[in-house]
């Protein structure tokens, strides 16, 4: 009789798995359960005041104008800030890897600085930059004859203002990833391109960018996931205002869950956001795979 032996690997894995189960899967499962209840501040003291409402929270979301506004705002932010952010990082990486540039470590550090500074501190400075009457940005625009813009107070401009801030704050991280990608491209490919008489543009299109494809995928997915979770920028800069113009899905979830203690409803928003990000990531992966296949 062959005795089934448990692989000793499990023994080594068990502590880590236990930690993940207790601190990750259990809370996620609890949150999923919560999203089917109307657990709120009344439920804290008396569990009999909690109703099991099935998909009620999800159904309510469909009829909640602020949810759709938040979804639209978040999509707007991702679509605007995502490509802009990736393009800026790539541009900065290409510039820093150019042969003519000196003091590369200095520039790399300077460009990376915004990533490691706290947003709350940065926000104070940016609020002054964006100030409609006293701000540096409007002063500069005034010099070229553009009228003052109420950056954070005008619903049309508030989101672009946050996009600008987010791109500035985050491009350094992706830039470093791109630099690593660029450095891993073998020099011989560039030599071959030069021998074939390729110009700078042709080299970029046919050597650099194709070789960067895996890096691109990584950067695009990470950036998208990060930007879908837009929270800190509107939280510290505008609190979702003016007039819901910068209300994001995560900010709405935070308000529901932690400001108003509608924990059940907040959990439902979290799972909707999870589903959206999952779908977005899968689409991107599929897209790249289809591209890489032929």
């Amino acid at each position: 009789m062959a005795r089934r032996r448990i692989s000793p690997a499990w023994g080594f894995l068990a502590p880590a798995l236990a930690v993940i189960a207790v601190f990750f899967f259990l809370p996620v499962a609890a949150a999923l359960l919560l999203s089917f209840t109307d657990f709120d501040v009344y439920g804290i003291a008396h569990l009999d005041r909690v109703r099991l409402i099935g998909f009620g929270n999800y159904a309510r979301l469909l009829h909640e104008p602020r949810f759709w506004i938040a979804l639209w705002n978040t999509a707007y932010f991702v679509v605007l800030a995502g490509p802009l952010s990736v393009a800026t990082s790539l541009g900065a990486a290409l510039l820093l890897e150019a042969k003519l540039v000196r003091w590369k470590p200095l520039f790399r550090t300077v460009f990376f600085l915004p990533v490691v500074t706290t947003l709350v501190a940065v926000a104070v400075v940016w609020r002054y930059l964006y100030h409609p009457r006293l701000g540096l940005l409007n002063h500069a625009l005034g010099l070229v004859g553009v009228g003052p813009i109420d950056w954070l107070g005008d619903p049309r401009w508030a989101m672009p203002a946050l996009v600008l801030l987010a791109v500035w704050k985050n491009f350094g991280f992706n830039m470093v990833v791109f630099i690593a990608g660029l450095q891993s491209i073998p020099e011989r490919l560039y030599e071959a391109a030069r021998l074939d008489g390729a110009g700078r543009w042709a080299t970029l299109r046919h050597v650099t960018l194709p070789m960067l494809a895996p890096t691109f995928l990584f950067v695009a997915v990470i950036t998208m996931i990060g930007y879908f979770q837009l929270f800190a920028e509107p939280y510290v800069m505008t609190q979702g205002g003016p007039g819901n113009a910068t209300l994001s899905v995560v900010l709405l979830m935070y308000e529901e869950g932690f400001r108003w203690w509608n924990v059940g409803h907040g959990a439902a928003i979290a799972f909707v956001l999870f589903a959206i990000i999952l779908v977005g990531t899968l689409v991107q992966l599929r897209f790249r795979r289809a591209e890489a296949a032929p």
Partner: protein, 409 residues
Amino acid sequence: MTRRRAALAVLVALVACRRDPGESATVEFWAMGREGEAVTALLPEFERRHPGVRVRVQQIPWSAAHEKLLTAHVGGALPDVFQAGNTWLPELVAVDALERLDDRPISRDDYFPGILDTNVIDGATWGVPWYVDTRLLFYRTDALPAPPRTWADWEAAMVRVKERAGADGYAILLPLREWQMPVILALQRGANLLRDDDCRGDFEARPFRDAFGFYLGLFRRGLAPRAGDTSVTNVYQDFSRGWFTIYPSGPWNLGEFARRVPATVPWSTAPLPAPDGGYPGVSLAGGASLAVARRSPRKASAWALVEYLSEPAVQAEFYRLTGDLPARRSAWRASALASDGRAQAFWLQLQYTRSTPKIPEWERVASKVTQYAEAAIREDVTVDEALAGLDHDVDAVLEKRRWLVERGR
């Protein structure tokens, strides 16, 4: 053998530590922000008068306080005594966190009636006012020689100020993201805000509609800037420069204005105007209370601390330390506060305050007021649409409350 004996000794010592009688008489006290810091100066006297009782103060930042109190209650970690904003009390009552104070001796006549009332929920008293807060007018006396007494006076005065200020100045600053001003105006008109046992919104009713119209008119006529809080980075500078003349605000700005507005800028305070006669008009009953946790095992000592902090002399000293206005009227007299020029207006205003609906959902309802007021100010919606939307949203917020009331809980 010796090792085992040593281990036993350690164990005994540990148990003995836990049983230390001094430990059980330590009263845990949570206070917020600056109050948490200042109150420590008052405690040695309390400990001297109550030998064997020690007080341990934990200072909680205001921004995290509300959430922390709720989570602490859920986790069974509430302190014996704590400070709470008086608008949080209904929620803390709903989660059974508070000890009833009905049988405790409270000098009820010595408190401002409107403020004391915020601590009474469903007929029971749950907190003792510690310090008080309300809103009234801060204004420049050079641009506005006499404070207005009626809405009509007020409006006429603001029109005159605006005419003199021109396109770059305003009569009044009303931050768009604050619910207080439209709600105060509505309370002055006698609005109930909610109806059916606080289970539905009552914002389409006449009183609120009138007040809302008056409030919107201030923006439509250019008397108030359509300024979000992002375009006002420094109220004191803007006030000193004359960008606006009137600013409805609270007692914390008495100290701030005195410190940050240059001496060359003459300013004063005045109670709020009333819709017609009956000056002054009512304002909000704000402030913070002291409450005792229901699960506290040291309620006697906890109550002794509340009583001590409520003594007029201690209140007067607390005012000196923090600038927070005392909740007890005798403390005002004791500290000569009632005769201080700029505080005088608060003294008068505090006799005329009304509480907002005492339900856990109030802050959420208030955020809806902000949302629709802001939309109406930006003219994204008409007044009718705003009020209908407000009632609709508030009804949705109060759905759970209706269910509970119907079931008689």
